[in-house]
């Protein structure tokens, strides 16, 4: 157990830090949260800069055009980016973190050549068409149907929680090619051009009032067979191959952001006087210890991935603890804000005249409810942890109801 950086890791960090320090000041103003075209432009510009500097596809294999960084270097990359205040992966996340790696692992040479370079350079934005209104936790029950018609699949159905669908060029789409009863075994993975006729994108407003998600309606959309990745009816396995692609670093950005928010909260507590209350202090202490523990867990997971190629159990249990802590912190923030937590407009401190930062904390409170829902509800996470790690028996399959 040695947490010292190797000379290579130190050099990687130093170079990156220098590049970030030189590059970030040159970025344009951030786009308005609601202006999707502007956000696309901002995010793809950033991806282009990363690409030019050799940081695009940090976790992609070198053969696929990525940097092929080690898990530890990936961690360093996320850490330095967050601490320097660099932009997030933003609209590029589906392409860079899921569709791209999937095509690289399972796609044909032609598919790899066609799609991967433009994901890396930021030219193309992808969206994900997995969840359906009727298939949330139970993804394998999806019903969007694809019927083979000559050399095309004809797709009809609907998807939900499709991020940035309005500005995406392509969609990684799961469709049912087998019978409904076939469940996991009748699903196929397709690349859908978002300019195809028959696609209707409707923004989906979330409880925070934002519309970064959409519903996707497909009415006899024709997708060439050559856009199929993997075999017909083998889409479930294709999807799973890359679901563990992120070796324990999936939540690093969020965790580091939570640590920053907690420091801000501590500052807020000092300004409002709440810090003098030992009960409030203990809650801060518990949260800080929990985030520290999750950071240590992340390092251990990454280290395991580096040593063994497998991220180990840390990555699986991380989200349960992180989600709970994130919600506790959001609740604490609302309590510290008091009345100022009831609006997004800046409220200023009565004594020091500075903003209380309430808008960020209120936004964070609303988003915190999604922590235990998105990317697998905590209930599903607990099933996975208890069955796959603890080896507890599955629930009996539904069958002979009496």
């Amino acid at each position: 157990m040695d947490l010292r950086a190797t000379p290579a890791e130190e050099a990687f960090r130093a170079d990156l830090r220098a590049w970030l320090a030189a590059t970030l000041p040159t970025l344009p103003e951030k786009a308005l949260h609601t202006d999707w075209q502007a956000r696309r432009a901002y995010d793809t510009n950033w991806q282009g800069l990363l690409h030019a500097a050799g940081y695009a596809g940090i976790d992609w294999p070198v053969e696929a055009g990525g940097r092929g960084a080690s898990p530890v270097e990936q961690l360093i990359f996320k850490e330095e980016c967050e601490r320097a205040g660099a932009p997030y992966v933003g609209l590029g996340f589906v392409g860079l973190l899921h569709a791209g790696p999937t095509i690289n692992a399972e796609g044909t040479l032609a598919q790899r050549t066609t799609y991967l370079p433009k994901i890396l350079s930021g030219e193309h934005v992808w969206c994900q068409g997995f969840s359906e209104p009727g298939s949330g936790s139970d993804l394998a029950s999806m019903r969007t149907r694809a019927v083979l018609d000559g050399d095309h699949y004809v797709v009809s159905g609907s998807k939900i929680w499709t991020s940035h669908a309005e500005v995406a060029d392509y969609c990684e789409l799961l469709v049912r090619t087998g019978t409904e009863a076939s469940r996991h075994k009748g699903i196929t993975w397709l690349i859908m051009d978002m300019k195809s006729p028959g696609i209707d994108v409707r923004p989906l407003k979330t409880i925070s009032g934002s519309t970064e998600f959409a519903e996707l309606f497909m009415d006899e959309v024709r997708i060439p067979v050559e856009n199929r990745v993997g075999e017909e009816n083998d889409g479930w396995r294709v999807t799973m191959v890359t679901l563990s692609f992120e070796r324990g670093t999936g939540f690093v950005g969020e965790l580091l952001e939570s640590m920053r928010l907690l420091r801000e909260l501590t500052e807020l507590a000092k300004r409002t006087g709440a810090y003098g209350d030992p009960g409030i202090r203990r809650r801060i202490g518990h949260l800080a210890a929990t985030f520290d523990g999750l950071w240590a867990l992340t390092k251990r997971t990454v280290s395991e991935a580096q040593a063994t190629g497998i991220p180990g159990i840390g990555g699986t249990v991380f989200k349960l603890s992180y989600s709970e802590a994130g919600q506790k912190m959001a609740d604490l923030a609302m309590e510290l804000l008091g009345d100022a937590g009831l609006l997004f407009d800046d409220v200023t401190h009565a004594t020091d005249g500075q903003s209380l930062g309430n808008a960020d904390h209120v936004e964070n409170w609303i988003k915190s409810f999604n922590l235990t829902i998105a990317a697998g509800t905590s209930q599903i996470q607990r099933n996975i942890v208890s069955e796959r790690i603890l080896g507890l028996p599955k629930e009996p399959t539904v069958g002979a109801k009496k």
Binding site: L343, F369, A374
Partner: protein
């Protein structure tokens, strides 16, 4: 001893329920989202006509002359329907402030914050004609007053947490009104807390009902999600929280109405009747805060992704619960009051 709703109370509840179903359907209420004025005048008038605002006004003055307990029963119904507007302030102002009982004067509550560093906000600044001003709890001797909206400098927030209960920022410290209200500010505060708690119980019940219905209808893995223990047990706990909170709310309302009962019960704990009343009210508000915050949070979780959409109404209950658990007093303040009266 009789802890059941009286026949009159059941009639009050059912009658109001019928009016609310007609005037404040979920669709009708949601039309007010993001409106600068959330109060639908016709609906408000219907509440006035039903006697909601003159509920506490003595019959001799043309009111219904009903009790706080009756008021709690009524406000639970309104909370369940997410009815927007300054209901509680208007109910408490009626009889003193002209037009409140009739639905023509809308009266909010402006409570000065106990946290000096965080300036207060004003509820419903575009809707209210005036405010009951409750002095800080630390300033026990100061009377409650009435202040016209025009005498308060406040800016409507461009975006409030709860689209159905927008707030404004006070531009300066809240001053006392010119019209002094009868009764102590302390007593008025307890009544406002009780009615707010009643609204919370309505919110919690609404959220729980939505959740139960969704859990029965939504199938995943070939089963209604309500057949999974993870979901069932969440909802069972919410029901337990809600029923305990409701029982304490009703108890607190009864002792508020009947100082003789407060005196008898207070004797057991070595408390005066006012102290017992405070302990009961603060405990009720605390339990109702928890019931509403927890039931609405659970409702989001049970609805899964759908619970995170604007379209499904659970977020409206969640946000309103946060408003009512914050504005007049916080759970922490209530817990401290109960602790100080535990010996």
């Amino acid at each position: 001893m009789n802890f059941q709703l009286s026949e009159d109370q059941v009639a009050l509840r059912d009658g109001l329920q019928a009016i609310v179903e007609g005037r404040f359907s979920l669709d009708a209420v949601r039309e007010r989202e993001d409106a600068s004025s959330v109060v639908d005048k016709a609906g408000w008038q219907a509440l006035a006509d039903a006697g909601v605002f003159c509920l506490f006004v003595p019959e001799s003055l043309g009111g219904l002359g009903l009790s706080i307990t009756d008021g709690v029963v009524a406000v639970e119904v309104l909370g369940h329907a997410l009815v927007p507007g300054p209901i509680i302030g208007t109910m408490l102002a009626a009889g003193t402030i002209a037009g409140a009982a009739e639905g023509t004067t809308l009266v909010g509550i402006a409570a000065t914050s106990d946290r000096g560093a965080v300036p207060g906000v004003l509820e419903l600044p575009s809707d209210c004609d005036g405010y009951l001003v409750l002095p800080s709890a630390r300033d026990g001797a100061a009377p409650a007053t009435y202040l016209a909206r025009s005498a308060i400098s406040a800016t409507l927030a461009t975006r409030s947490l709860d689209p159905l209960h927008p707030v404004g920022r006070l531009n300066g410290p809240l001053v006392s009104g010119t019209l002094e209200l009868s009764g102590t500010a302390d007593a008025l505060r307890r009544r406002a807390l009780l009615l707010t708690a009643a609204f919370e119980v309505g919110l919690a019940a609404f959220a729980l009902e939505l959740s139960v219905a969704y859990a029965k209808d939504r199938y995943q893995f070939g089963r209604p999600i309500g057949s999974f223990q993870a979901i069932k047990h969440l909802l069972a706990d919410e029901l337990a929280r809600l029923e305990m909170a409701r029982a304490q709310l009703h108890y607190a309302a009864v002792v508020t109405d009947a100082p003789d009962i407060a005196a008898i019960d207070g004797e057991v704990y070595g408390l005066s009747s006012t102290q017992l009343e405070w302990r009961a009210v603060a405990g009720a508000k605390l339990l109702c805060d928890q019931a509403a915050l927890s039931a609405t949070k659970t409702a989001v979780q049970v609805h899964g992704g759908m619970g995170y959409t604007w379209e499904v109404p659970v977020h409206l209950a969640l946000k309103r619960a946060r408003v009512h658990a914050t504005m007049l007093a916080t759970s922490d303040q209530m817990a401290d009051i109960v602790a100080s009266l535990t010996h």
